[in-house]
C-alpha cells in the first residue's frame, strides 16, 4: 500500500512560508498611495489622474518592450512598474505636459530598471531616474508650479501640449512652492497649510498628513525599514535645527523642513525602496543619515530649492559600497 502516486511532492524544508510575496508588497505599497492620489485629484483636478495614467503607461510600455531581453517571466505582474509610474507622477507639477510624463515613465523603467537587468538589479530608484531625466530634459516645464484650484474637471493648458511644445499656461497662475518662497524670499508657509496640503507643488508634494499616515502603516507592516525613516528625520531635524536656532529669520524651522516639498514622499516611498537601499542594519543608518544631510545641504546652500531627489540618488549610488563596508557580525564571532 502506498500513497496515491503523483500526488506527493518532493522538496526540502522549510515547507511553510510567510504571507508576504514580492507582488503583494508592491501592490500593498501602491494601495497606500490611493489616498494621496485622491488628495492630488482634490487639489489639482483631472490633470492629476491623467498625469498618473500617462507615467504608468510609459512604465508599462518600457517593461513590456524590454521584457524579452531580460529573459525574465512575470515581470509585469509583480506590480513594480505600476508603483514606479505612480511615484514618478506624484513628483511632477500638475501642469506638466502628458507626453513628457509618458516619456518620463518610459525612461524611468527603461533606463532606471531594465538596462540593469530588471527588478532587483538596479542601483538607482527608477522613479527618481525618470524624474532626474525630466528635470534635465524639460527644466522649465518641471519647475512651473500652479496653485491648487479645486476645479475637479479642469485641466491645465500645458497638460495637453503637443510633443516638443511647452504649451501655454492659459488658465493657471504660476505659483511658487513653499520651498522656493523660503529659499528666495525667506518666507515660510504656515505649517497647517503644509500639513493639509493646499500649497503649490508636485501632485504628491502637498499633503504631509497623508504621507505620515501611510508611512506609519508601512512601518507597522514592516514593509519599509524604520531605520531609514528614523535616520532621515533625525538628521534633517538635527542639521536644520542647528541653523534655525542660530538664525531663525534666515533658516527655516526643522518642522518646515520636514513637512515641505518632497521630503515625506521621498522618505516614505523612495528612500525606502527595498532594491536601492542597503541591506545591513548599520548600512541603513548611514544611508538615511546621508540622505538627511544632503537634503538640508542642497536646500540651504544649493542652487535648487529642493534636494530630496539628488540626495536619494547620491545615496543610492553609495549603497553597494555601504553594503560592502558594513558587514553584519554573525552570531558566535566576537
Amino acid at each position: 500500500m502506498s500513497i496515491a502516486a503523483g500526488k506527493i511532492t518532493i522538496s526540502t524544508s522549510p515547507f511553510l512560508h510567510g504571507v508576504d510575496t514580492t507582488p503583494r508588497i508592491m501592490w500593498e505599497v501602491t494601495l497606500t498611495l490611493l489616498p494621496v492620489v485622491a488628495a492630488a485629484y482634490y487639489f489639482f483636478g483631472l490633470a492629476a489622474l491623467l498625469l498618473i495614467g500617462a507615467t504608468i503607461a510609459g512604465c508599462l510600455a518600457a517593461e513590456y518592450l524590454f521584457l524579452p531581453a531580460t529573459k525574465r517571466k512575470s515581470a509585469l505582474r509583480d506590480g513594480s512598474a505600476t508603483l514606479t509610474g505612480l511615484l514618478l507622477a506624484l513628483s511632477l507639477p500638475p501642469g506638466f505636459p502628458l507626453w513628457m510624463s509618458f516619456v518620463g515613465g518610459f525612461v524611468a523603467i527603461g533606463m532606471g530598471k531594465m538596462i540593469w537587468g530588471g527588478l532587483g538589479n538596479n542601483v538607482f530608484n527608477p522613479a527618481l531616474v525618470g524624474r532626474a531625466f525630466l528635470q534635465a530634459a524639460f527644466p522649465t516645464a518641471i519647475t512651473t508650479w500652479s496653485a491648487p484650484d479645486g476645479r475637479y474637471l479642469s485641466l491645465r493648458g500645458t497638460n495637453l501640449a503637443l510633443p516638443f511644445f511647452q504649451g501655454h499656461a492659459v488658465d493657471a497662475i504660476s505659483s511658487a512652492t513653499p520651498l522656493a518662497t523660503m529659499k528666495f524670499d525667506h518666507v515660510a508657509a504656515p505649517l497647517m497649510q503644509l500639513l493639509w496640503g493646499n500649497t503649490s507643488g508636485s501632485l504628491g508634494e502637498t499633503s504631509a498628513i497623508l504621507f505620515i499616515l501611510a508611512g506609519l502603516y508601512l512601518l507597522f507592516r514592516k514593509i519599509i525599514n524604520w531605520r531609514i525613516v528614523v535616520s532621515i528625520v533625525a538628521m534633517v531635524v538635527a542639521f536644520s535645527g542647528i541653523f534655525w536656532l542660530m538664525d531663525g529669520s534666515r533658516y527655516p524651522s526643522p518642522l518646515f523642513m520636514l513637512l515641505s516639498g518632497g521630503l515625506l514622499l521621498g522618505t516614505v516611498y523612495m528612500a525606502t525602496d527595498l532594491v536601492t537601499s542597503p541591506i545591513t542594519p548599520r548600512g541603513l543608518w548611514i544611508y538615511g543619515l546621508g540622505i538627511g544631510f544632503l537634503v538640508v545641504l542642497i536646500r540651504t546652500w544649493g542652487g535648487l530649492p529642493e534636494g530630496v531627489m539628488y540626495a536619494i540618488l547620491l545615496m543610492n549610488a553609495c549603497t553597494p559600497l555601504i553594503n560592502r563596508f558594513t558587514k553584519i557580525k554573525p552570531y558566535g564571532h566576537s
Binding site: I8, T9, S13, F15, T22, I25, D78, I328, H333
Partner: protein, 451 residues
C-alpha cells in the same frame, strides 16, 4: 519563578503554529504491529552492531544490537517476536541502510519483564554513561545524538548550567508538550539523576509560553524537588528551541562559532530524553518506544501516540484514520526542518518526533522572483548571517565566497526561506553549497595525505 519579561534571542520568525490540532490530546498507546523494521544506523555516529540472527526469538526490551563505537548506542527489541532477517531497507533520508526485521509473536501479551540497573546514585560516572549507552538513549528532539556522549564532559570543561529544552518551537509538534504535561515526575526524576553526576550550579527548563499547562506543572514539581531548578517561559518564536538560541535566550551568551555549548559552561538536553532516562534507571525500560505527533490537515485523526520504535509510518498513519485526498506532502519531523518522504515505507525511528501530512493550503508552491534586497532574511536569520548575499553567491556558484561569508555557521533552520517574499530557495541552496564545499575539502585533504 521569573515573572519578568519573557526571554528570547534576536531575529527569528513567526510561522503559524497549528499546535491546536494535537496539543490537548493525551498520549495514546499505539497497538502492536505485526512486523517491525529496526535500522542499525538510526542515531548520529557509528551504526549499532547486530547481536541476533535470523530465526532467533527475542523478548521485548532485549538488546538486539550493541553500540558500534563510542559515538553509538544499543538497540532493543520493541516486542516479543522472531528475527526474520537483517536486510537493507530504505531509510527516511532516502538512503539504504541495514536493519533488523522482526515479526511480532502473536501469542505474546507483550508484558515487560525487565530488571532495572543498579540505582544510579550508587554508580560512578563512567558506569552511569555506559549504562545510558546500553539503554539506547539518544536526543529525542530530532538529531538523535547519543545521550551518553552529550553527558560526557571533557577534561577542563565545566557545566555550570544544565538546560532542559522544552521549547518545541517547530510548528505542529506537541510530543514534548504532552510528555511534560503527562509525565512531569519522570522529568523531575531524570533531572535529579543527571544532576547527581553533572552537579550544575543551576538548572533551567526552557518552555515556550504557548504551553502554560506544561510551565505550571513543571514549575510546581521542580519547586518541590529541592533541585536548583527554574522553569523559564520563553517567547514564542522560531527557532527558539535551537540549542544556540535557547542558550542565548536564557543566559544571554553566544556559543562561539564552531564550538559547543560546554564552551559557555552549558549542557542542553531535550526534555523527553530526560524522562526516558528515568524509565531506564527506575524501571529498566530501554528506548523501545517514543511519543510521536501524527498531525497535519491531511490526517483524519491527528494524535499524540506512544509508538514502538520500528513501526512503519504507514501503520501509524492508518491508525490515525489515514490520509485525506488532498494530501500533498508527507514529512518526518516539523515543517521547518523536517524531511520530506516520498512514501510511508520507512519506520518510525528514535529521532522521529512527528509525522506530518500537509495539503497545498499550508505548503504553497512559490513563484520565484528576483531578490529585491528587502532584507527580511537578514532580520530573520538567528545566526545573524546575510542570506540575501549568500543566495546571490550561491546563484553564481561562488562557493568559496559563501564560506567566507560564514555559510558553515548556518544550521539550516529555514527562517530565511520562510520570510523571502521572492520565494527564493535560500536555505536549500546553502545546503547544496555546504555539501559541495565539504566534498571538495575532503578531496583536497585526501590529495594532501596521498602526497
Amino acid at each position: 519563578m521569573t515573572t519578568s519579561a519573557t526571554l528570547s534571542f534576536s531575529h527569528g520568525v513567526h510561522p503559524e503554529y497549528f499546535k491546536h490540532l494535537t496539543d490537548a490530546k493525551p498520549i495514546e498507546q499505539m497497538p502492536f504491529a505485526e512486523t517491525y523494521v529496526l535500522p542499525l544506523g538510526q542515531h548520529t555516529g557509528a551504526p549499532s552492531k547486530a547481536l541476533v540472527r535470523k530465526g532467533q526469538e527475542v523478548r521485548r526490551g532485549q538488546m538486539i544490537a550493541e553500540p558500534g563505537g563510542f559515538v553509538s548506542v544499543a538497540l532493543h527489541a520493541p516486542v516479543d517476536g522472531t528475527v526474520t532477517g537483517i536486510e537493507l531497507v530504505e531509510m527516511p533520508n532516502g538512503k539504504m541502510g541495514p536493519a533488523i526485521l522482526l515479526r511480532t509473536d502473536p501469542y505474546s501479551t507483550q508484558q515487560l519483564n525487565l530488571t532495572p540497573p543498579t540505582p544510579p546514585e550508587e554508580m560512578d560516572l563512567k558506569t552511569f554513561l555506559i549504562s545510558i549507552q546500553s539503554s539506547g538513549l539518544v536526543g529525542l528532539g530530532g538529531a538523535a545524538f547519543p545521550a551518553h556522549v552529550k553527558f560526557s564532559i571533557p577534561e577542563g570543561k565545566t557545566c555550570r548550567y544544565l538546560m532542559l529544552n522544552g521549547a518545541e518551537c517547530e510548528p505542529f509538534l506537541t510530543s514534548d508538550h504532552r510528555t511534560m504535561v503527562e509525565h512531569p515526575d519522570a522529568i523531575v526524576d531524570g533531572t535529579a539523576i543527571l544532576q547527581h553526576f553533572i552537579r550544575a550550579e543551576k538548572i533551567f527548563i526552557g518552555i515556550e509560553e504557548n504551553k502554560p499547562d506544561a510551565i505550571a506543572i513543571l514549575t510546581e514539581k521542580f519547586n518541590r524537588s529541592g533541585l536548583p531548578a527554574e522553569v523559564v517561559p520563553l517567547k514564542v518564536k522560531y527557532p527558539q528551541g535551537a540549542e544556540k538560541m535557547l542558550i542565548t535566550s536564557i543566559i544571554q551568551r553566544e556559543v562561539p562559532s564552531g564550538k559547543l555549548p560546554l564552551d559557555v559552561e552549558t549542557l542542553v538536553s531535550n526534555i523527553s530524553s530526560i524522562a526516558a532516562m528515568s524509565y531506564w534507571f527506575r524501571q529498566g525500560i530501554p528506548l523501545i518506544e517514543r511519543v510521536v505527533t501524527v498531525t497535519g490537515t491531511a490526517i483524519h485523526r491527528p494524535s499524540n501516540l506512544l509508538v514502538p520504535i520500528g513501526t512503519s509510518m504507514q501503520e501509524v498513519v492508518n491508525y490515525c484514520g489515514g490520509l485525506t485526498n488532498d494530501v500533498s506532502r508527507i514529512l518526518l519531523g516539523g515543517p521547518m526542518m523536517g524531511m520530506v518522504q516520498k512514501s510511508l515505507n520507512s519506520p518510525v525511528l528514535k529521532g522521529t518526533s512527528g509525522i506530518l501530512a500537509l495539503t497545498s493550503r499550508e505548503v504553497k508552491d512559490l513563484e520565484e522572483y528576483e531578490c529585491i534586497r528587502c532584507g527580511k532574511c537578514v532580520d530573520a536569520c538567528p545566526m545573524h548571517l546575510n542570506p540575501s548575499l549568500l543566495g546571490l553567491l550561491a546563484k553564481n556558484g561562488l562557493w568559496e565566497e559563501m564560506q567566507d561569508n560564514y555559510v558553515f555557521d548556518c544550521f539550516e533552520c529555514g527562517s530565511c526561506s520562510f520570510v523571502c517574499p521572492s520565494g527564493i530557495p535560500l536555505v536549500q541552496s546553502f545546503r547544496v553549497a555546504k555539501g559541495l564545499l565539504r566534498e571538495q575539502q575532503a578531496r583536497e585533504k585526501a590529495k594532501a595525505t596521498a602526497v
